[in-house]
Structure formats: structure tokens, C-alpha cells
């Protein structure tokens, strides 16, 4: 080997170390796989893609469904008590005409209904939109934001951009009796001037950038603090206790097809992260899938290399599918599709295993980007 070849080998080895980190590679591949699969599912099953209305959060909650069967004493499952609410915050009074709600952690903001929500690429808005930055996975790429867009963001204060955008809000005010701050400023890091409304108790900041001052005013004035969002999801994760060994229960879920409305409520960190109302066909599809699930609970296969999050984290996450019926109490089904321990769907009385169809449907409708089990990973 010549000196040049030695140097070539050396050069390639050294510069190979500048390659991007591979830690997010697997998650990225699965995310893209799910996105493609979702598109196919949505097209094939005519499940109209309902862009999600993002959600809100506050509250302390307890979810014990992740308990391992061996630690549980008896074999009964108790229905979920009513969700705890602060008592000071109102139930959503509905969506004003011509608008749609976007909510996070008990904070709701209303934006024009014509807007596509989360209309961005790689985190950069590409049209007038409202973005719910609640833990979404954002791929990296370089996109230039078009000029003169109106962009609303609702995000957690605990994130770096949330903290940054909250920094311009220096004037104290209140929203539905809750302490808040509001203000306008120019952030060098973000280039455009923004107006932010911060609700410290809820840990949320709503920010607007727009060439139209009236639009900024109208959007921020629409912000409210609620315990149940416009789609009927409790902003605090409902208490759901499984006291018994779920596998001892031996009857399937029974979801009547006569539901008049239905919504998927997704919870993260014990608070509502996203609520997605279902179309008629989606209601029927989901009810059919739920009714066909086998009794029992699922687990991630022992030989799967899928990385599950910590039990504490996963216990604070989950989906609640709510079906509303005329003259009857709503049917709420808790679905746990990720994390450690048992994965299942349960109405508190009937507990079933998951299947790929249910996971793909929930993920497809809600647009959730979490680390959910893929084909062949459940047992």
C-alpha cells in the first residue's frame, strides 16, 4: 500500500468519526415507516385524516394499570372514577364559529378553521398554521419559512423554545382567573417578532407571529383555561385503576355501534396532549376493531430490541377512546400501547390484548409519533 493509500485510509477513518450520531436512527426509521403506513391505511380504509386538535395539560393523576399481575391481590377491575379537576376551571364552552381549538395542558386557543394544523416541515411552518409542540419528533432538514405567515404555537414552558418564546411576556395579566403574562418582543434566535401569553400554572406558552396585529390580538384573546377541552377530553388524565389480574377477565369489549360522537384523547405526563374527534367512519372502524380484540393483555416480545421507556413515564401516557351515546353515560376505553409492563385496552371491566390494527389505527388517526410496537413485536 502506498503512502497515499495509507493517508487515504487514515483520512476516511478520522472523518468517519464526524458522522451523525446513530442514537435516533432506529426511532427515525420507525417514525417514517409509520408515517408511510398511516398514509396507506388512511387511503385504503377511507379514514379521513383528521388533523389533530392538540391538547392541554395540568393535573396530578394516578395510573396503576402498569402494575404487574404478580403484585396484585385480587381479580377485579374497577371502573375509572371521574377525573379530578381543579374546580376553578370551566368546561370548554364549545368552539366559536369558524374556528378550531388547539389545546395543551388545559390551555385552549382558537384559530381559523381553514388552517391546517401543524402545517410544517422539519419544524418550520410552510403556511398559516397552529403548531402544538407537545413532544413531537421533528426530523432535521433546512426549510426556509415563507414571509408573512401567521403562526400560532402552543408549547410547554419546560422546553427550550417554550422558555425562549415566553421570555418576551413580561406584563402580568389573568386568563380565566389564572395568573398569566403577556408581551411582545423580537428574539434574535427566532428572527421574527412574536407575542406570547404565558400561563405558568399550566406550564404553557401560547405565542403568535403575524404581520397582522389584529389577528394576534384576536387569537391570544381567545385563549382559555379549561378542565375539559372542546372535544370532550378531560385535561387531566382520568384515574384508571386495574386492581386485578387482567387476564382472569374473560369477556371482550363491547362497544355499541350507536355512538353519536367519539374522540381519541391522548395523554402524556398525566395531562391531555392531544384530542382528536372521529368521523362517522372512523367511529365505526375503531369500534369494530375494539370489539374484535382478544381477551387478555399483551406484552412486548422478550426478544424484541424495541426500547421501552421507563415505567414511570409510560404509566403517565396512554389513550382514552370516548364514545358518546344518547341518554347514556359515555363509554371510555383506556388503551395502553407503549411502555413497560402490560399493554391492553380496557373499559375497566373488560380487558383485552392489543393488535397491530388497533395500534396503527390509533396512531394513524391521532398522528402520534411515539415508540409504539411494530409488526411482530407484541405477544
Amino acid at each position: 500500500m502506498t503512502d497515499l493509500e495509507h493517508l487515504l485510509r487514515d483520512t476516511l477513518t478520522v472523518h468517519g468519526n464526524d458522522a451523525p450520531d446513530a442514537s435516533g436512527l432506529l426511532a427515525g426509521v420507525h417514525q417514517r415507516r409509520r408515517q408511510r403506513h398511516r398514509r396507506r391505511v388512511q387511503a385504503g380504509a377511507a379514514l379521513t385524516a383528521v388533523t389533530t386538535v392538540a391538547a392541554l395539560v395540568t393535573a396530578g393523576m394516578l395510573l396503576t394499570s402498569h402494575r404487574q399481575p404478580s403484585t396484585v391481590g385480587n381479580s377485579t377491575t374497577t371502573p375509572a372514577p371521574a377525573p379530578t379537576t381543579s374546580g376553578t376551571t370551566p368546561t370548554s364552552a364549545g368552539v366559536p364559529a369558524g374556528t378550531q381549538a388547539v389545546s395543551l395542558a388545559g390551555v385552549e386557543v382558537f384559530v381559523p378553521k381553514a388552517w391546517k394544523l401543524n402545517d410544517e416541515r422539519c419544524g418550520t411552518p410552510i403556511a398559516d398554521t397552529a403548531i402544538n409542540d407537545n413532544g413531537r419528533v421533528i426530523p432535521t432538514c433546512l426549510i426556509m419559512q415563507p414571509h408573512r405567515l401567521t403562526v400560532v404555537r402552543i408549547e410547554r414552558l419546560s422546553t427550550s423554545f417554550g422558555t425562549l418564546r415566553a421570555s418576551v411576556a413580561t406584563t402580568t395579566t389573568t386568563v380565566d382567573g389564572q395568573p398569566a403574562r403577556r408581551g411582545t418582543g423580537v428574539l434574535a434566535q427566532l428572527l421574527a417578532p412574536i407575542t406570547s401569553l404565558v400561563l405558568p400554572k399550566q406550564g404553557v406558552v401560547v405565542s403568535v407571529e403575524s404581520p397582522d396585529p389584529a389577528a394576534i390580538q384576536q387569537i391570544l384573546d381567545s385563549v382559555r383555561v379549561v378542565s375539559v377541552d372542546a372535544n370532550g377530553c378531560a385535561t387531566a388524565m382520568p384515574l384508571f385503576t386495574v386492581r386485578g389480574h387482567p387476564e382472569t377477565l374473560n369477556s371482550r369489549l363491547q362497544v355499541p355501534a350507536s355512538a353519536t360522537t367519539a374522540v381519541i384523547c391522548r395523554y402524556s405526563a398525566t395531562t391531555l396532549a392531544q384530542s382528536t374527534p372521529l368521523t362517522t367512519s372512523q367511529r365505526g372502524t375503531l369500534a369494530g376493531i375494539l370489539n374484535a380484540l382478544s381477551v387478555g393483555v399483551s406484552h412486548i416480545k422478550a426478544n424484541s430490541t424495541m426500547v421501552t421507556s421507563s415505567c414511570a413515564d409510560s404509566a403517565a401516557r396512554g389513550f382514552v377512546v370516548q364514545f358518546a351515546y344518547p341518554g347514556k353515560a359515555a363509554l371510555r376505553i383506556f388503551v395502553r400501547i407503549e411502555g413497560c409492563g402490560a399493554l391492553f385496552a380496557s373499559d375497566g371491566t373488560h380487558t383485552t390484548k392489543l393488535n397491530e390494527q388497533l395500534i396503527e389505527t390509533l396512531v394513524g388517526i391521532s398522528g402520534y409519533d411515539g415508540n409504539t410496537p411494530g409488526p411482530g413485536q407484541l405477544q
Binding site: L12, T13, P20
Partner: protein, 171 residues
């Protein structure tokens, strides 16, 4: 690849190496990630068949290279790439400077020549293996290698440290 039981295991085990490989081809971290993710996505769809053939690594690498080459073809041949600085190090014994210069000059090679060098000197593949990855004849591999090394030798920026600005990348 013997012992690989699942797609996830494969990605966890080989992802970093594939990213390094893609980065050496593209010299762009974002593009490298895209290439590898795309390749893995395609591989995932045919995972069972790929595993049965016992060669997932070669399969993915081949997709990465092919996508890289087709991506390069789509780019304008008028594209101006990074230039070797006007001031070039004078101390030829300085390994760091040599590597830096060679790295820049590598960027000026046609993509297939660069791919051959990366496969040979980084991935340590034999000529038949490189031919398999590139989908070309053995003689083509040898020819590409020879031309690439010759280009490096005669490149004025590399050969005699003369002040040079490299501009057009593609022939």
C-alpha cells in the same frame, strides 16, 4: 449476516457504521441520515427476504450507494463545491493538514470514484464485493479505483500544495 434476529437489532448494531459510510460518501450529516433512513426503510419492507439471503449489511450498503449516486446525478453538474483554501499548508509532514487537504480533494472526485475509494479503504471490501455493491463489472471497479488514485496524485492541491481553488465537481 448470521445471528441477526430482527430488523431493530440490525439497525442498533449496524446503524452507526452505516451512517459513517454514508457520511463519507456525502460529506453532509443531514444527507447521510436521509440516505441511511431511506435505505433502512426500503430494507424493512423486504426484511424477511434480506435476512434469508443472509446479507442485510451488503443489501443496505448497496441501496445507500445507489441512492447516493442517483442523488448526485440529479444535482446540477454546475454545482460549485467547497474550495481548497488559497493558503495551503506548507509543512507536508503535518498529518492533520494532509488529511484535511485530502478530504477536500476527495470531494472533487466523481461520485462513483469516491464511492469506490470509501468501499475499498474504509469498508475494506474486496474488488468483487465492491463490484457487487455498485452493480458493475470487476474491471470497472479496478478502473475506477485506478483513476481515482491517479486523480488524487495529480491534483495540484494535493500533489505539490500549490494554491488552488477547486470548483466544478462533476465531469
Amino acid at each position: 449476516m448470521a445471528g441477526v434476529e430482527s430488523f431493530d437489532e440490525f439497525v442498533l448494531a449496524r446503524g452507526a457504521a452505516l451512517l459513517r459510510f454514508a457520511y463519507l460518501l456525502t460529506r453532509d450529516a443531514g444527507r447521510a441520515e436521509d440516505l441511511v433512513q431511506d435505505a433502512l426503510l426500503k430494507t424493512h419492507r423486504r426484511w424477511d427476504a434480506v435476512v434469508r439471503a443472509d446479507r442485510p449489511d451488503a443489501y443496505v450498503r448497496r441501496i445507500v450507494v445507489n441512492d447516493f449516486l442517483s442523488w448526485r446525478r440529479r444535482r446540477s453538474s454546475r454545482e460549485v463545491t467547497g474550495a481548497v483554501p488559497e493558503t495551503v499548508v506548507s509543512d507536508a509532514a503535518d498529518r492533520l493538514a494532509e488529511r484535511d487537504l485530502l478530504w477536500r480533494v476527495l470531494a472533487t472526485l466523481p461520485p462513483r470514484q469516491r464511492a469506490v475509494l470509501v468501499l475499498r479503504y474504509y469498508e475494506d471490501l474486496t474488488d468483487p464485493q465492491i463490484a457487487d455493491v455498485l452493480g458493475c463489472a470487476l474491471g470497472t471497479v479496478r478502473s475506477l479505483t485506478s483513476r481515482a488514485l491517479a486523480a488524487l496524485r495529480v491534483d495540484p492541491a494535493w500533489a505539490d500544495n500549490a494554491p488552488t481553488v477547486l470548483t466544478v465537481e462533476e465531469p
